[in-house]
């Protein structure tokens, strides 16, 4: 119906391998892009700066984590630390007079260098032990960031991000920040979309499925693990830097603590491992849900005439967030991305359900 495939004939490989072979997808993407670009005109400044902007940046970070978790199949429980390294490196760079663009790339590269050390853990162990060692590395990074005054500016200190200048133009407005975030998110999305069509992406999938089987067919599994960790660290580092420059405007160690790592993992899991559209859904879900849930519960309590303590209200969103992770794992382990794919597959052949795509 919606995703009509009838009458689409691919007569050459290029059209068969196009990013979006189904016209409905292309139209939807164009529509979404138009919506995204015109969002500053159509939405309020509050929605733009406190919902859309963080959503886009967190989506970019989720995609980066999905690269390592969903594509390469390697655990990474310390992704927030990687983002923190990128953020701190770029803020320090920019404070020392390096142009903003270069400072952000520098942040990404610093994150890449340090993040690649995680790959050496992956060389030695995998599965549970890799998860635990990356979790421990997160604690070490947290400790280093908060205890070395040269990095954090002292314990409990906040480091103000200097004003942002893109290609010589000062970016100060909310709209400008939004476009920077949108641009970065689109770049990462394009990269991830193309990843599955390249040798690199297929090699990563081979490593994920079975690393020694990959080695047998000539895929150097350690090299690709290293590439995966480095690439996803770069994405994470730049995302962390952009998050600081466009959203928080100041950087503190707690912004990249271990619970943020778990939140990122939840975004990937709720969104769906290896799903790009799922990363968008997952980030939106985990970011927006606690706030929505809080107002819903407040409203219900007011309706029922019950009085909830401030304390209870502060912890209920966490409980719901934990419950959501549990429910998703029980009901749809492949996440929202899989739900979308199911719907799309159904509509692809509707009303001829027997002709499963």
């Amino acid at each position: 119906m919606l995703f009509r495939q009838a009458g689409i004939h691919h007569t050459d490989y290029a059209s068969d391998r196009a990013l979006f072979p189904v016209p409905a997808d292309r139209i939807m993407i164009i529509g979404l892009l138009v919506l995204a670009v015109t969002a500053p005109l159509t939405t309020s400044s509050l929605t733009l700066s406190s919902y859309l902007l963080p959503w886009l940046v967190w989506t970019a970070a989720t995609l980066g984590l999905n690269l390592i978790l969903g594509w390469a199949g390697q655990f990474h429980f310390g992704y927030a630390a990687i983002m923190g390294i990128g953020a701190y490196a770029s803020v320090h760079g920019a404070r020392n007079g390096i142009p903003w663009e270069i400072a952000v790339v520098l942040g990404g590269l610093t994150a890449t260098v340090i993040g690649s050390t995680f790959a050496f853990a992956a060389l030695r162990v995998k599965g549970l032990y890799l998860a635990l060692s990356t979790l421990a590395l997160q604690f070490v990074m947290d400790w280093v960031i908060s205890h070395v005054p040269a990095i954090s500016g002292g314990t409990q200190a906040t480091l103000q991000a200097p004003p942002m200048k893109l290609l010589g133009q000062a970016v100060t407005s909310e709209v400008g920040f939004y476009y920077v975030a949108l641009g970065w998110c689109l770049i990462v999305t394009l990269f991830m979309l193309n990843l599955r069509r390249t040798a690199l992406g297929r090699a990563l999938v081979a490593v994920r499925e079975k690393d020694f089987a990959a080695a047998v067919i000539g895929v150097h599994s350690f090299r690709y693990k290293l590439v995966a960790f480095a690439t996803s660290s770069f994405i994470g580092g730049v995302s962390g830097a952009i998050l600081i420059f466009t959203f928080y405007r100041a950087v503190t160690p707690e912004q990249f603590a271990v619970n943020v790592s778990i939140e990122l993992l939840a975004m990937v899991i709720v969104g769906g491992l290896g799903s790009i559209i799922g990363s968008y859904f997952g980030a939106a879900f985990i970011l927006l849900m606690p706030g929505l849930m809080n107002s819903l519960i407040g409203w219900l309590a007011a309706l029922a005439g019950a009085r909830l303590g401030v304390e209870a209200l502060a912890h209920i969103p966490h409980a719901v967030y934990g419950a959501l992770i549990i429910i998703f794992l029980l009901v749809e382990p492949m996440g929202l991305g899989k739900m979308y794919a199911n719907l799309r597959n159904y509509l692809l052949v509707w009303p001829f359900g027997y002709a499963r795509k």
Binding site: F75, R124, S133, L265, E311, A319
Partner: protein
């Protein structure tokens, strides 16, 4: 070098380490039977401590009655967690299982704080605050009690694993399918190990609660518990005890000297570094089974 200080750090560390073993013991019990690394053990510890306090408060019973009642309740909680959350995940990829236990951790912690409130509360089990004197060395009385309870529990588990039910659990941990085929109810065994682990968590919660008060920080024992469990080998109960002893001594001594250099807060760093080094050098731990895959 000040030998009295060193001995004091080491002895107190050893006893605190045995109390870490209590947390690790719960993780090991579950991992042994079902290969599930339970990252919710910290939250279960906290929940157990809150249960004890609430039973004592609303049941108007003394502590020594409240603790067994809370243990019974936690036994049920453990059974419930296994039945609702983990049973359906059997055979799924490890990432799903890890995320499930993480989700449980977040959920249990938040529920406990929502229902019972997050302000810190004391756990009055009647251990006096004044230290024990052992020559020039001061020993923390709560740690001493905790260490004794940990050793007693260890003894109990050694005995338990020689009983009929214990042999069944050992068979399950040895080979899932083989025990199934000889008529052992694997589900029931795994559920029992979750329930026992919840009871152990209550013990740990009571003892740690008497040391540092009952609040959210109890769930932070998870990192130490995991480190001890990995260091000892994830499926070895004796390993967990020895590793707790070692980690306790190492943490106490190393942070005792490091804190002066870096200005405090090096305990977590020492623990995390121990975890990383263990995994890099000897991933199966001191006494764990050797079935980790190398690349």
């Amino acid at each position: 070098m000040d030998w009295a200080l060193f001995a004091e750090l080491a002895l107190n560390g050893a006893m605190a380490g045995l109390m870490y073993s209590l947390v690790a013991l719960g993780i090991v019990l579950i991992y042994k039977s079902s290969s599930v690394p339970n990252l919710a053990q910290g939250a279960m510890t906290m929940l157990g401590a809150y249960f004890v306090l609430e039973v004592a408060r609303y049941g108007h019973v003394p502590m020594w009655v409240a603790i067994p009642i809370a243990m019974l309740l936690m036994f049920g909680v453990g059974l419930g967690i296994e039945r609702v959350a983990l049973r359906r995940l059997a055979g799924r990829p490890i990432i799903m299982i890890l995320m499930m236990t993480l989700g449980l951790d977040i959920f249990l912690r938040a529920i406990a704080l929502t229902v019972f409130g997050s302000s810190g509360r004391p756990m009055p089990i009647g251990i006096p605050d004044d230290p024990l004197f052992l020559g020039p060395i001061l020993l923390n009385r709560s740690y001493a009690v905790g260490a004794a309870v940990a050793l007693a529990l260890f003894g109990l588990f050694v005995l338990f694993f020689r009983s009929r039910r214990g042999v069944v659990l050992r068979a399950i941990s040895d080979d899932y399918t083989a025990s199934w085929s000889v008529g052992i109810s694997v589900e029931r065994g795994v559920a029992l190990s979750w329930a026992m682990s919840a009871v152990v968590a209550t013990t740990a919660g009571v003892l740690w609660g008497s040391v540092q008060g009952v609040d959210q920080s109890l769930s932070m024992l998870l990192l130490k518990g995991v480190t001890v469990a990995v260091l000892g080998g994830l499926d070895s109960i004796g390993g967990a005890m020895l590793a707790g002893l070692l980690l306790g001594i190492f943490e106490s001594v190393a942070s005792g000297y490091l804190d002066k250099l870096v200005g405090g807060g090096s305990r977590d760093l020492v623990v995390a570094a121990t975890l990383i080094l263990t995994i890099m050098i000897r991933p199966h731990g001191l006494f764990g089974r050797h079935d980790i895959e190398r690349i």
